[in-house]
């Protein structure tokens, strides 16, 4: 292996900090948000135990993070380009097995989520295979998860081919399959019944894909590319453009979807409902996360990017780590938002 990736002594610490910050921010946020939306006890009705009540959202957010990692790792060859394999190949050689491992995690988590969703519907019972089959047959959320798991598995298969044959396996194919696996996830969330249903679903899909590309791309660049100044200088300007587009798409679609969902729900009054109930405050929290991302992203884009382009040392890793941690919080809140009660 050619030594093109300079290994600073504290490189592993930084990597651990970043990944740890991302995952723990997401898990903490989802736990807090789930406690906030916790089902109040209804006399005479069995509700799921704490294992399901808190376990399901945690699994859901871990699934999202695994999917984000897969999307980011799939976009990496596109960002790196194919002109200078001498320099990019060592990075890709580390990225490809990681993509397969995360696709695995995604698939397994999706299947476990199906089991937990079945348990959520049948409080007090341990799900049997029969109950799970019944759940998948009758509930769209189950079918969506199964489809997502199938996509993740096929990604793992194609990712293995890529591990073996390198970039002869088209990067586009992997990107499409990864995004395809993301598509059914919003189908399992809220929706409204009105003529606006389809536009809202499409904008929701854009939201999910934009968020995954933005977060995944940033995580992967920071973890695998950022220490190689030469490579970073080539990758970051392109990614920065994509991230700007993603920021606009994610922010707009998120706010429009959230407000439209509330507007179209009978008995919900805007703007009062933004601060009361469950859905409104979570929506505000998520919008606040995106608003917090703007200055962080802007600092990298307008202050650091020109110096990165000149191959100078910068504090980009620290700023990106902060950005990624906020993104983790947003993912955690997002999972709670999908099941929060509107009224």
């Amino acid at each position: 292996m050619t030594v093109t990736v300079e290994r600073a002594p504290q490189a592993d610490t930084v990597r651990r900090l970043l990944a740890g910050g991302f995952v723990s921010a997401a898990v903490l946020a989802v736990l807090v948000a789930s406690a906030f939306t916790a089902q109040e006890a209804v006399p005479g009705i069995a509700i799921p135990g704490p294992l399901v009540e808190y376990g399901l959202p945690v699994l859901r957010v871990l699934l999202d993070l695994a999917a984000v990692a897969v999307v980011g790792l799939s976009l990496l060859p596109k960002l790196l380009g194919f002109d200078d394999p001498e320099r990019t190949e060592p990075v890709m050689r580390r990225a490809r097995p990681m993509a397969v491992a995360f696709a695995w995690a995604w698939a397994v988590l999706a299947l476990v989520v199906i089991v937990f969703q079945t348990a959520e519907l049948n409080p007090g019972l341990i799900p049997t295979p029969g109950m799970i089959v019944e759940y998948v047959n009758s509930v769209g959320a189950g079918q969506g998860m199964l489809f997502s798991a199938a996509c993740a598995l096929s990604y793992a298969g194609i990712g293995l081919l890529a591990v073996r044959f390198g970039e002869k396996v088209p990067a586009e194919l992997r990107i499409v399959i990864a995004f395809f696996g993301l598509l059914p996830i919003p189908v399992t969330g809220h929706a409204v019944s009105s003529v606006w249903h389809d536009p809202i679903m499409i904008s929701m899909e854009l939201h999910v894909m934009g968020a995954a590309a933005w977060t995944g791309g940033l995580v992967v660049i920071t973890l695998l590319v950022a220490r190689d100044r030469e490579l970073l200088a080539r990758v970051l300007p392109g990614f920065s453009k994509m991230a700007t587009l993603a920021l606009i798409v994610v922010g707009l679609s998120g706010v429009v979807n959230g407000l439209a969902t509330m507007l179209l729900t009978p008995g919900v009054e805007l703007p009062g409902a933004l601060l009361t109930g469950e859905y409104g405050p979570l929506l505000v929290a998520k919008a606040a996360c995106v608003a917090l991302l703007v200055p962080l992203a802007a600092h990298i884009r307008f202050r650091l990017l020109s110096r990165i382009a000149e191959r100078q040392a910068t504090t980009v890793i620290a700023w990106a780590t902060a950005e990624i941690t906020v993104m983790g919080v947003a993912y955690g809140v997002a999972v709670a938002l999908t099941t929060a009660s509107l009224s």
Binding site: G44, I45, L111, A150, V187, T188, A191, T265
Partner: protein, 191 residues
């Protein structure tokens, strides 16, 4: 990149056809008796009305009396937008809480409660003494064989049963391949 976007949009379009799109979250828009109603005689039936059709199965209504006793009678039935359950003649005066949990049409369980007050004591006796949660046991056992039979039927018809088989098969195959491939990469790196 433009080609990629086209492919993704096409993929979206295909998916909308393939996966049943989520329907909305059900919201309780009315109940009989109304929330907070004052009644001199107990109702013989509780009906909850939602803003859209409720899914069959999984629906459950309970009626809990002032001292924690249970008063619902028979199974909860779902008829399109309405979910109802029979009620025994009520006993002591006081607040009766109607708890419910239904499977919303978007696949989320939705649970909440309404309440009414009985002003004149009735003559009835509770269908179950307090506490009520033990009801999950026998009901669950009654449900299980039905589900098992349905599952067997589904497996015979293909459906999710076959999907599970395919997924387990591909998991095994891919798992072995992953282990082999990762081991080889490691060998190549250390060599």
């Amino acid at each position: 990149m433009r080609r990629l976007l086209t492919v993704l949009l096409l993929a979206c379009a295909v998916l909308f056809g393939a996966v049943a799109p989520a329907q909305a979250h059900n919201i309780l828009i009315g109940s009989d008796p109304k929330d907070g109603a004052q009644l001199a005689t107990g109702p013989d039936k509780i009906t909850l009305t939602f803003d859209q059709p409720v899914r069959q199965g999984f629906a459950q209504i309970s009626v809990t009396g002032p001292d924690g006793t249970r008063w619902e009678n028979g199974k909860t039935t779902v008829d399109n937008h309405k979910v109802s359950v029979g009620v025994n003649p009520l006993g002591p005066a006081g607040e009766y809480i109607v708890g419910y949990r239904i499977l919303s049409s978007d696949g989320h369980p939705v649970a909440s409660k309404t309440a009414f007050t009985l002003t004149t004591p009735g003559t009835g006796t509770a269908s179950q003494p307090a506490p009520g949660l033990s009801s999950a046991g026998p009901q669950a056992q009654a449900q299980a064989p039905g589900l098992g039979a349905q599952a067997a039927e589904a497996a015979q018809n293909g459906g999710a049963g076959m999907a599970v088989l395919w997924i387990v098969g591909s998991i095994l195959l891919l798992g072995c391949a992953t282990v082999v491939a990762l081991r080889r990469t490691k060998e190549r790196e250390s060599a």
